[in-house]
Symmetry: C2
Subunit: 430 residues, 2 copies
């Protein structure tokens, strides 16, 4: 059994989890998996983190070169995050002939092509299981066990922060601000929650999943993302009354016209397995032409779950080093499928409007939908607390996104309409 040496860059939340797992289980890995791996060098810009983790100071440096230039190191673990220094870490390591394990969704969703190509050129592994779904095995199953399938769709609840917030709003009627505050207090949301609540984190993750599922590169910038800021407890209550849950979903579908990929809140039937995924949990629901429906569920964030995926990848790389078959699974984006514009989407829409409570407004709004080719399924009108205001909730029949957008523009311009409260797509996930 060969001892494989690794270097770790980034001693934050996930990095400290990796250190803990190896402290706890290195001997088990030798005994149980036949894999001997040691992290011999650590790099972070903050020396205090190394002190706090009790690392031997001789193994620590603030200089990336200490890892890149060490010929004994065969694997670099990049846990810096982002697309700046992290990109340098990953590319420098690959170019130095070292395999890379990363948890970096932003890097893989934006520079995935460059990273995969560099790994291939240098005949090494690039592994990124932790970039999506924390500890949930999803990237390896898609690349391996499910490789026998033509994947039809991948639909994920891949952001724990927003799923926690929506769960609290659904279960206890909290409004958005209260749910966010609670998530921040419990450490589930950052002080600046933008990446989570605006769907950007989920967009990076679905770009990665879509690329693997459809063997065709999808990048972060190609994924239209809407977040949950406009979702109110009223929306959740209306949805519930109609048999739906509201979830922030990241969706990627194979269609005849290309890849349909997007992130937004959606109403999904209560019976669907994804509707039952609550709290900080993540789940990725996959439909393949042979396997049918599958779902992968677990903790999507946190130090140890993400570190579980990182160390799982590390063990796999060490097996490849031992077996002399690095690069055995490289880039599989061998197709060039177009990404469909969201304006081509056809689905049902839930629309909540705040209008002046007077005769004729409901009919006038219905008329605007009709003029724009949007046919209506059901409508609920309620007087609200605000004086003279009424809330109208419409659910359309299947309509095109562009028609609905045109109708909403006209409705917003109509002076009896005070506010378009929310627009939520109703997704048929079957």
């Amino acid at each position: 059994m060969r001892t494989v040496k690794a270097g770790l860059v980034g001693l934050g939340t996930v990095g400290s989890g990796v250190v803990k797992i190896l402290d706890r289980h290195s001997a088990d890995f030798r005994h149980r998996a036949g894999v001997d791996v040691r992290i011999t060098r650590f790099v972070d810009r903050n020396e205090q983190r190394a002190v706090d983790l009790g690392l031997p100071m001789g193994s620590f440096s603030t200089d990336l070169a200490s890892i890149i230039d060490d010929p004994e190191i065969d694997v670099v673990i990049e846990l810096v995050g982002g697309t700046g220094f992290a990109r340098t870490v990953v590319l420098d390591a690959l170019r130095a002939g070292k395999s890379v394990v990363t948890a970096n969704k932003a890097l893989m969703a934006t520079y995935g092509h460059e990273v995969m190509e560099t790994a291939e050129e240098h005949g090494v592994d690039i592994m990124f299981e932790a970039s999506v779904g924390g500890g949930i095995p999803i990237i390896a199953p898609l690349k391996r066990s499910l490789a026998s399938n033509e994947i039809q769709s991948v639909i994920g609840i891949v952001n724990g922060t927003t799923n926690y917030m929506l769960t609290r709003m659904a279960e206890d009627g909290l409004d958005y601000d209260a749910a966010l505050l609670e998530a921040q207090e419990r450490g589930f949301a950052e002080a600046d929650p933008t990446a989570d609540v605006d769907g950007l984190d989920a967009a990076a993750k679905i770009a990665i999943l879509a690329s693997i599922a459809f063997n065709s590169r999808v990048t972060f910038s190609e994924v239209p993302a809407e977040g949950i800021r406009s979702i109110s407890p009223n929306d959740i209550a209306y949805a519930s009354g109609m048999g739906y849950a509201i979830k922030l979903i990241a969706i990627a579908r194979r269609t005849a016209e290309g890849i349909d990929v997007r992130v937004h809140p959606a109403m999904i039937r209560n019976e669907h397995p994804l509707a039952k995924v609550n709290g900080v949990y993540n789940a990725i629901y996959v439909i393949g032409d042979s396997v049918g429906e599958t779902m992968f569920f677990g903790e999507g964030a946190g130090s140890l779950p993400a570190a579980s995926a990182v160390v799982g990848d590390l063990i796999e790389v060490v097996r490849h080093i031992d077996g002399d078959c690095l690069g055995i699974i490289g880039c599989t984006c061998n197709e060039h499928l177009p990404v469909r514009d969201i304006s081509e989407l056809v689905t049902e829409y839930y629309v909540r409007l705040i209008v002046r409570d007077e005769p004729g407004v409901l009919g006038a709004v219905a008329g605007i939908f009709g003029e724009n080719g949007v046919s209506l399924g059901s409508v609920i009108q309620k007087r609200t607390d605000a004086e003279g205001d009424a809330e109208i909730v419409w659910v359309t029949h299947r309509a095109s996104e562009s028609d609905v957008r045109a109708a909403l523009a006209a409705i917003e311009a109509f002076e009896a309409v005070h506010e378009v409260g929310s627009v939520i797509r109703v997704e048929d996930l079957s």
Copy 2:
């Protein structure tokens, strides 16, 4: 790209699915996964099956030697099932230096040690993803992505037949016989349903999962199995009233005294993800020390789902052949943990009795529980339709299996007790 040739033994349900997938996607596998694999020889004892599948007759034989003796064949797919001829197929193939892909739970749960050892001796792959959970990726994730964890427990709904029956009993009040008949009519149950309804199928599967999860060999014969024959719609209704679902679960836990492994119906809290797995679906719930809770959900049976797993394994073997690293993941049963006797189990028990409806019986039965050290949590007594009969449902506090068994033996002998209707363990799965 090297063309790898495979031989397929067994042209039944799963075998025909494998043929279909390769017909449909061989070109995709070359293009997308860089894997070129062809099945060049087929063996079955029934030639008609080859005719029905439209196989070229020159590639078909009823003689296993046609595959074993063909030096061009590098992989043998065994889809015969059982532990007789299938064992010969697998061992002969491995000894001839061919890798093996199998869906055979009985073989792996009984002769896994022999099979794994033979594969290792000959430096080839043995893959068996389809043996548990149909198309759901679970064996590869346990061996690879989750290898970083010390697994605490693996709890599965791994038999679709019984889960379908219990779901129909819960949702529409069908009794056991009606549910079985319906399952048979819909093709979800065999004419002889013994292996499914008595928990034997699930026992083989949990033996395999436990062996991988705990790195220690657990065989079929070591798994105590109880089936669902005694479950009545009443049990399900009582359970539901207490906030529980009744599921046939296959459970394997790491304990300080060894591996706790068993199959039986259990009451599990409605909030638990497994409680929501209905119909023919399977799910495997895994707790690891780093990853926390995860669950793998999907179709546990059927031609194409199982074939999805078989072909996924086949692609993986071809990658290993291409990369010259066969045997890279071999047997990981390097521990020798004892299997705990079920008499040592401590949990809560639900007990339904049919008794003579007269004063003092309830108190007398309670007395018997007490004499045997079993303390009682709650009791419900109802008059039944049968004249002079009453039904009493007890839920005990945590008690040892051996104490409960002793109490039940005494209760059964008590002349006022007509029948011990059912005994269901209440499982705290957290």
